[in-house]
């Protein structure tokens, strides 16, 4: 039995199927975004989370409805995994009035406090202390809510990350820090940016647990996060979880290559969490292939619907320009 299969063994078929559905929905959504970007419909650039779906889905499914999430520009998957409306997301990415941020944020800024999703951010690492402040507020208010913060390997090199590690460890802030180590910050491979092979090691200097896991093994992501969330909820303080994953072929839909070999660029397909998890489902969980095909179909339609909705929505107009600067 593979590690993956072993980890999945603890999971109910419903939950497993739910994860699969979410991952496929995210995948189709992101593929659609890339397509629309190719057609010139996406403002600026967009950073697909393709191949990293297991991280978003796995860790967010370990949260309660009351918990909170903050993520990065590569966070469409986290928004959807948290239950964000794909139409509102797509409309946001296409800068439409119907977008979740009224089309003023764009691809890098999705937000929906109603589902506890406090937004994605385009300054690398800046949201890590912000997420921790959100968690501190909940600690002070004794709400029992846990805050989850996702960020990349590149972000783990910024001062704000380390300062935050110290503060959350010191104050036992109920935050779970999930680092999606996808091997690159734009073109810089982790071996050129990190003095240690594993980002989880950083936690050692701060007296907080740091765990490095296979981020493409969704059941492992789920279980590791679940334990960290429980620990945080019980007052045990923060955890740093490194999810080792692989980035999709480029940094963004628009960015260039040059820095990696052809094989390296295709590596994500080898470790792709979706087919991996499909094997688990059709194997030990005996899910019928037709069920999975149906999910795929449904996801494609949802992405198509989201795209149509977005395209049919009006671009955010001048009436919105000066709104929402001040409260």
């Amino acid at each position: 039995m593979t590690d993956e299969a072993q980890h999945a063994a603890a999971v109910s078929p419903e939950q497993a199927l739910g994860w699969y559905r979410q991952m496929v929905h995210i995948r189709k959504f992101e593929e659609k975004v890339v397509e629309l970007s190719g057609r010139g419909l996406v403002s600026g650039s967009t950073h697909p989370c393709i191949a990293q779906e297991a991280v978003s889905v796995g860790c967010i499914s370990a949260l309660n409805a009351e918990d909170l999430v903050l993520a990065t520009y590569r966070g469409h998957g986290t928004f959807l995994a948290r239950g964000g409306d794909p139409k509102a997301a797509m409309a946001e990415i296409l800068c439409r009035e119907t977008g979740c941020c009224k089309g003023k944020g764009g691809s890098m800024h999705l937000c929906d406090p109603d589902i506890g999703f406090l937004g994605t951010n385009a300054i690398v690492a800046a949201h890590i202390p912000i997420a921790s402040g959100v968690a501190l507020a909940n600690q002070l208010k004794k709400t029992n809510r846990v805050t989850l913060c996702l960020f990349g390997d590149g972000a783990s090199c910024e001062g704000a990350f380390y300062e935050t590690l110290n503060m959350v460890a010191l104050w036992k802030v109920p935050v779970v820090l999930v680092c999606e180590n996808n091997g690159y910050a734009i073109s810089v491979p982790v071996k050129k940016s990190l003095s240690v092979p594993e980002i989880a090691t950083r936690a050692q200097g701060f007296d907080m647990p740091g765990i490095s896991i296979d981020g493409n093994d969704i059941a492992e992501v789920y279980e590791t996060t679940r334990r960290a969330v429980e620990r945080a909820r019980e007052g045990g303080g923060p955890t740093l979880i490194e999810c080792r994953t692989v980035r999709w072929e480029r940094h963004s839909a628009l960015s260039a290559g040059f820095y990696e070999s052809r094989e390296e660029r295709k590596r994500w397909q080898v470790v792709d969490p979706i087919p991996r998890f499909r094997t688990v489902l059709t194997g030990q969980m005996a899910v019928q292939a037709s069920v999975l095909e149906e999910i795929e179909q449904e996801a494609e339609e949802a992405a198509e619907d989201a795209a149509e909705f977005a395209i049919r929505s009006p671009l955010t107009g001048t009436a919105q320009l000066e709104q929402d600067i001040f409260a």
């Binding site: 909170l68 977008g99 979740c100 941020c101 009224k102 089309g103 003023k104 944020g105 764009g106 800024h109 937000c111 929906d112 406090p113 406090l118 937004g119 951010n121 300054i123 800046a126 949201h127 890590i128 202390p129 912000i130 997420a131 921790s132 402040g133 959100v134 968690a135 501190l136 507020a137 909940n138 002070l140 208010k141 001062g159 704000a160 300062e163 935050t164 110290n166 503060m167 010191l170 709104q323 929402d324 600067i325 001040f326 409260a327």
Partner: protein, 325 residues
């Protein structure tokens, strides 16, 4: 009316607001039993406890980020930066996050956050502890900025700041902390965007910022003896800036000098000058002048006096201006 210091006024404002609103949390360094680097928070930790008066590590960037997080999560954070000179460390949090977050999230969040920071001058501490950097913040849309020059304004503006649902940069002045002034015992709050006419006059308008208000009053007293009538305006808040009061005054006097301790070049004086020019061009009988900090690193020691404006330099500039037109 009773007189209290600028420092006490700030202390009272925060104390009153914290009593009213249990969601207010103070972050910073040395703000606990020590009472803040300049003692402004004395007694607050004792009254409100360490959870709400939260002494923390020397990590300004993350501390500001935590403040934003507290705000976004429905509390109200007041973050103290020990000297305004250190504000570059929080500028990303302020300029790329706090001031823009509500906008790029399409109004889905609000950021009730006050960042208190004293500017300083003539403390003899040298280049890294003597700067007034309000211009950087004024060039950052999405912020409110107050810069009070009296105990009365400090208390009234800070109470307003704390009730904003928006990020506020609250700039104090180390050399004002010990100055005294009348402050009513009763509750009051002052609006942002409303300048104070410190002194009426007819020959020249002086727009003075922070520490320079006192200096301007002194200079005006001197000049009065020489028959020059000076009107002094303290904008009190730089964002919003009460351009109207300034423009009206310049229309009356036909002359303007802006004075601040901050570096002259690209300082707020340039902006205030342009506002006056744009609004009162036809009334100007002489160019607008700036009496500001010299554009250079600030030396330690008595030599520092050379780089900062003062009443004498201001008076001299006004005399020159009266001769020009």
């Amino acid at each position: 009316m009773r007189e209290i210091t600028y420092s006490q006024a700030i202390n009272e404002a925060i104390r009153e607001e914290m009593r009213r609103d249990p969601d207010i949390v103070l972050l910073g360094q040395d703000i606990g039993v020590y009472g803040g680097t300049f003692g402004v928070y004395r007694g607050l930790c004792e009254e409100f406890g360490e959870d709400r008066v939260r002494d923390g590590p020397l990590s300004e960037a993350a501390t500001a980020g935590f403040g934003i997080g507290l705000a976004v999560a429905g509390m109200r954070a007041i973050v103290e930066i020990e000297f305004m000179d250190f504000s570059p460390l929080i500028l990303d949090a302020v300029a790329n996050q706090a001031s823009k977050m509500r906008y790029f999230f399409g109004g889905k969040v609000k950021v009730p956050l006050v960042l208190r920071m004293p500017s300083a001058s003539k403390l003899g501490l040298g280049a890294q502890h003597s700067q007034s950097l309000e211009s950087w913040f004024m060039h950052t849309p999405g912020l409110l900025i107050a810069m009070p020059s009296t105990p009365y304004d400090a208390k009234g503006l800070l109470k307003t700041a704390v009730r904003q649902d928006n990020p506020v940069i609250f700039i104090e002045h180390v050399r004002l902390y010990a100055t005294k002034g009348e402050v009513p015992g009763e509750e009051y709050r002052l609006p942002f965007g409303s300048a104070r006419i410190v002194r009426e006059g007819s020959d020249v308008t002086v727009v003075a910022i922070a520490m320079m208000v006192q200096e301007a009053v002194q200079a005006a007293g001197e000049l009065e003896k020489e028959g020059i009538s000076v009107e002094i305006i303290d904008p009190r808040t730089l964002a919003p800036l009460d351009g109207e009061t300034i423009v009206e005054s310049v229309k009356k006097t036909g002359r303007m000098v802006v004075t601040h301790e901050a570096y002259r070049t690209a300082g707020v004086g340039a902006e205030i000058g342009q506002v006056a020019l744009e609004g009162a061009f036809d009334y100007l009988v002489a160019p607008i002048r700036r009496v500001a900090g010299k554009d250079q690193p600030i030396p330690a020691g008595p030599l520092q006096d050379e780089v900062f404006p003062d009443r004498d330099k201001l008076a001299a500039a006004i005399r020159d201006l009266m001769e020009e037109g």
